[in-house]
Amino acid sequence: MSVQRIPVYCSQCVAGPDLIHVEVQDGVAQRIVPNFDFHAEHPAQGRVCVKAYGLIQKMYNPNRIKGPLKRGNPRKGLHEDPQWVPIGWDEALELVAERLRAIRAKGLVDESGNPRLALTLGQGGVAPGYLGTFPAFMAAWGPLDQSIGAGQGVKCYHSEHLYGEFWHRAFIVAPDTPLCKYVLSFGNNGMASSGVTGVWRHAEAKTRGLKRVQVEPHLSITGAFADEWVPVRPKTDAAFLFALIHTVLHETDWRQTCDVPFLRWRTNSPYLVGPHGYFLRDPASRKPLIWDEGRGAAVPFDDPRLDEPALTGTHVVTGVEVGPDGELWRHASVEVSPAFQRLLEHVRPYTPEWAAEICGVPADRVRGVARDYLANAQVGETIEIDGHTFPYRPVAVLLGKTVANGWGGYEAAWGRTVLTTLVGALEVPGGIVGAGVRLNRPANDRFKTVVPGPDGFMVGALNPTDKEHWQKPSNRSAYQSLVPLLGSGPWAPALGPAHLPWLFMDHTPRNWPQQNLPDVWINIRANPAISHWDTGQVTKMLAEIPFTVCFGYTQDETNWFADVLLPESPDTESLQLIRVGGAQFVEQFWRHQGWAIRQPVVSQPVYDTRDMTEITTRIAAKVGILEDYNAAINRGRGIGISLEKFYPDGVLNPQREYGVEDIWDRACRAASVEASGGDVSHDLAWFKEHGAYLAPFQQDHWYLHTAMEAKGLRYELPYQERILRMGRELGNRLHEMGVDWWEPQLAEYSPLPGWKDFPAIWEAVAAERGKRAEDYGLWMLTTRSMQYAWGSTVSLPLMADVAANVSTHFGVVVNAATARAEGIADGDEIWVESPLDRAKGRAIVKQGIRPDVILTTQQFGHWVTPVAKDLGTPNLNRLITTGLSLTDATGSGADLVKVRIYKA
């Protein structure tokens, strides 16, 4: 029989989806090859990531869960064998539905106001590509607690996500690589994490002459690709950035080196700041005031006659300041300065010499970076794209994980964005651009989220902090209550302080609603016992949850605690349509956008598994919410496209239980109508044959500048008046409740963030646990692996076979001098011990790491997951404590911990 090529997508990480062909012969899927049908449209000529090649083995892996299982052993614990009993699908789904019906009978929320049903989705932002219609079930269900995390928040680019969306609708930030000339990267490991398009774009740019400076404690995959490596002390990146801003503003003539028109007209630099730190406003209109040098008077920011906004100086002005909770200060003839003047004063002490001491990097190196940055910024130049003239600023500053999350993340994100703003490289060709929105809506069009607000900035999806609208805790992480920047969209719970529920379910903090365990916890593809901090705390709580339903691929450390284990059909065995192209996550910048399909590549699943859409529909019917479920699908939940809007003839009859193919056939028709602007309507069969439908996407839509110009808006930079106000209001709300344990977090809300001794926050952990800080002299960090990112490949021996070529896999990287001092040789078994626990691994002795740092790749340390458990790599999560002291104001932490090492 001849080879059939079945088009599907691989979305095993957020840097995709990648379009692939599965070659099938004689009913056996045999090979993965890139889908070169989209060679011309795809930004990397259709090529696909190393992980995609594991999909065949993933499908036929004999260690998969081969059918539904129920727990035979009523006791749960690390050492309690679940004693799985194979059951049929009907029985399994009935077991689940019975528990869910019981919740509906009892009431969806418990006495504390928390939902009784909790749901955790694994693999970071990947889940939507594999959930089938499950999101429609979530919408139909009602209050559902999605705030119990599996590592997100503390592991992601958290401050970048939250502040990035706030400032420039950038859930993630990417360089405009095809036009960029200079990338300054603080630990951004894009060559391992930005997917195929990222690597392709950067390789092209490097050949073209792009220079990359990598500032990071160890020489990462991306460091290897860079032109220069600056080994900086962990968690001191903000100091480096502040010193760069200082150098630009105080050691060069900023009127020449910076983009003054951009600062004047596209930022809040000229906004006058009152004595209390809030904008000085027009007493009548309450609009922020700007000093117009031409007229020698303060005028509202949107005064059409405003001619020459002052950036510096002190001006005597009359106006009002609006503080938290409507507090008002009226000033008659008060001396005020523009925000930019405040910035100048703020960064004055942050000299390169000051930073050198903190960062462990010579001051001259800091100055050299600042010089190169300015030299490449090409301030004043323009470029023509799609008939539109843009400023051309080919410099980008990137942040990586651990830099952009946890304490110091706000300061680093602010420092980066201000440094970008100074030269006008924000959201313009060559500079940094946002890739996708997740907190603001609509998620599929960044430009539509640019909605003018009263102060000349964009309004954002924020959680209110005023007394009337502030939302009291209503889920276990209380993200709406504690993190105003998050908003309350579908992505918000995952980005909240999602680690806190594990702590709070164990010990409710003072003056907080009693935190109970959920009645039922549904866990889809998450493995918090491995991917979450403080393994001991997580496994303790897992054993206590009354009823756990896990959707699982192999037996793993978390589903070990499940009551029912459901194997859904994975990547190449089930059906789904998702969006592809446009300007999306990481570096997916296409000149096309549309929809791509994933479909079963062989007629029968390899094992007794079911399509997620089928499972969901069955559960919805059994629970009695089919009507709401179908209605949610009609609105586009789960299928990603509204049937009501784009295929009204195809809306589902709420009472009927639809088959998988029927639902997705309608989705295909609606999606193709939407993507083509109504020109075509392709059915499921068409998508199955062609793989994807793509329509052109304009490059000028890569740059928010287009929308900001069109709407005459300013970026809310460098001054953070709103942040200051929301912090004060949040403090008021919490204090009204008697909450006193969020004080350090409240202190983060500052209008111009300054340097704090961030490393000391981690150094203090030893003392908190009654240990001596000086006994833990090394920083342990983690790094990304392209082969394993998002974890869906850890149980594939094929992946281990090729990943072993990357020297930092499968062990603990130790600097050669440090290893020598400890008597450790390459390949020795060593213990890594933190004040919390210890873990064993193989020493990988290298030069490309600071002597005070050790490193491990990804998150391994499995003890149940087949294959992964034999890879001999310790997990940082076992060594790190989940606590409020390591939680920043956005509700995130960072992957670092102080440790010591010794030979095992």
Binding site: V33, R47, Y53, A224, K846
Partner: protein
């Protein structure tokens, strides 16, 4: 004429291993077998460190050492430069593996599956014909050999090797080096020609590298293709042929002059046989071929497909392993027949010459193994000839002593032994003083100069037996035990020297040795000799 090749832009590689896995998938490779890989190479010292990812594959050399080394003609070179292996012929002897300096050849010793048992896709894609033999990259020629007219391998992904068409950094470019309009030729022209790995080994690779980084010498790694069984061959074979040669030559000498020992009786009968019934000479006539046979059987046992062993004779034209086997067969047949049937001096002479051919061929197998610098030296065949005689002498001394008959002229034996030991030690020292072509060789010699190997090779293998033979010459009464002891020392030291050279000092050539320091001709200047190119089957 087309010459397929690759240009690898090292500046663009991020070490993602997509090429590695795409190759595995395209070619159905079993666990642990990677026809291509991306190395992760660190150079310098903190904080001045360079980390480089380096894609590595078969270089499809214009002068491939594997091609000459292959005894079976399984290794073929196509007119378009592709070096490939005919799965039906290869016996898995490993001689090509050690001959290749690029680590591009991969023995697959047994059936292997990722989960212990075969999954359906593995069963469907894994070619079981490749078990027990050597496998390697063939530029995915199946992807373009059947391509329609007008197809552009290197440009059209479906007709391009999987590594190149999958590479997400566009690091690996494939094309016709001889076509000045091809992308690869243009890239080389624009970048001043590109660099080839181990240029000084004169293999003329078809893979060029752009933007070479600074790469420090790598920590040495030992070859793991040949093990103890190979040592058995390289020790037993020379010992056997040396023993035979010395036995017959001393026999002739004794026949014409004063007999050194009681020369052979014709074999009276096999019945009523006892070890004492054979003279040392007869023993040598038997043991010589037997030792060579043990060597050959050891090699066969180490080969992945011993039942195809006859294929080893197919490449007498080029391969010294074929020739070794040929000489060995001639030697064994003639020596044995002569010992048992004829006792004819001309036959003995031919057998002894064939025997020396075995030793010479073994030396040349090693001497031409470009993968292992400790072997890849000119003196190796000389060393094998001299050491064959020395080991043979050691064995003969032991046989004489075991026979128990006082030699007529013990001093003559001492003189012979001392002369051979002197010559052998001189050659050994000359070997150690070889001008290193690679850093790896320097490292190997440093290892061989360590006290332990000096003690074994110089001390036990040479000085001690020399002393014993010297005393034996002065003290005829003690001659027999001293000769026996000297013989044992020679053999022990000789075995030690073989272990030292074949296993301990057998470091693989540093892939980056002198990388960038030596530049070679441009592709246009490299032509395949048509005579060397055999047509694809």
């Amino acid at each position: 004429m087309t010459r397929w090749g690759m240009v690898v832009d090292l500046g663009r590689c991020v070490g993602c291993q997509t090429c590695t896995i795409a190759c595995k998938m395209e070619n159905g490779l079993p666990p642990g077998t990677l026809w291509r890989t991306v190395l992760d190479v660190e150079s310098g010292e903190f904080p001045d460190v360079n980390r480089q990812f380096f894609p590595l594959t078969c270089m499809h050399c214009a002068d491939p050492p594997c091609y000459d080394a292959c005894p079976t003609t399984a290794t073929k070179v196509r007119p378009d430069g592709i070096v490939w292996i005919d799965d039906d012929i290869c016996i898995g002897c490993g001689s090509c593996v050690v001959a290749c300096p690029y680590r591009a050849r991969h023995l697959v010793p047994q059936e292997r599956w990722y989960f212990g048992e075969a999954t359906p896709p593995e069963r469907a894609t894994y070619n079981l014909d490749r078990v027990g033999i050597c496998t390697k990259c063939h530029f995915c020629f199946h992807k373009f050999d059947e391509a329609p007219e007008g197809a552009r391998p290197g440009e059209d992904p479906q007709y391009t090797p999987a590594c190149a068409s999958s590479c997400i950094g566009d690091v690996i470019r494939f094309g016709d080096l001889n076509d000045p309009d091809s992308t690869v030729a243009r890239m080389l022209a624009q970048n001043g020609g590109g660099l080839r790995m181990l240029e000084h080994l004169e293999t003329q690779p078809s893979v060029y590298h752009l933007h070479p980084p600074r790469i420090d010498p790598r920590p040495p790694e030992r070859q793991h293709t040949w093990h103890g069984l190979a040592v058995a061959n390289f020790f037993c074979g020379p010992t056997g042929v040396g023993l035979y040669l010395l036995a017959v030559v001393t026999g002739w000498l004794a026949g014409r002059n004063a007999p050194l020992l009681d020369l052979a009786h014709p074999l009276a009968s096999l019945a009523g046989w006892s070890p004492g019934a054979f003279s040392p000479r007869q023993w040598a006539g038997l043991l010589g071929p037997i030792l060579v046979a043990i060597g050959l059987l050891s090699v066969a046992a180490e080969a992945g497909r011993p039942f195809r062993g006859f294929n080893v004779f197919r490449n007498l034209r080029r391969s010294w392993m074929s020739r070794e086997s040929g000489f060995a067969i001639v030697f064994m047949v003639l020596a044995l027949a002569d010992t048992l049937l004829w006792q004819s001096a001309p036959v003995q002479a031919v057998a002894a010459l064939a025997g020396m051919g075995v030793a010479l061929a073994q030396g040349l197998i090693l001497s031409k193994a470009k993968g292992v610098p400790a072997w890849n030296v000119r003196i190796m065949p000389v060393y094998f000839i001299v050491s064959a005689l020395t080991f043979g002498c050691g064995a003969l001394l032991v046989l004489l002593a075991l026979h128990g008959e006082q030699p007529h002229e013990p001093a003559a034996w001492s003189v012979l032994g001392l002369a051979l030991l002197g010559a052998d030690l001189m050659v050994w020292q000359r070997y150690l003083a070889t001008l290193p072509r690679t850093e790896t060789f320097r490292h190997a010699v440093a290892l061989l100069r360590r006290p332990v190997w000096r003690l074994v090779v110089d001390g036990v293998g040479h000085l001690l037996p020399a002393l014993l033979l010297f005393i034996a010459a002065l003290q005829p009464a003690l001659a027999l035990p001293l000769m026996a002891l000297a013989g044992v020392c020679i053999l022990a030291g000789g075995l030690g020297a073989r272990i030292a050279v074949l296993l301990r000092a057998a470091f693989l050539v540093d892939l980056f040795d002198r990388f960038g320091a030596v530049t070679g001709p441009t592709p246009a200047q490299v032509t395949l000799e048509p005579a060397e190119a055999t047509r694809a089957a």
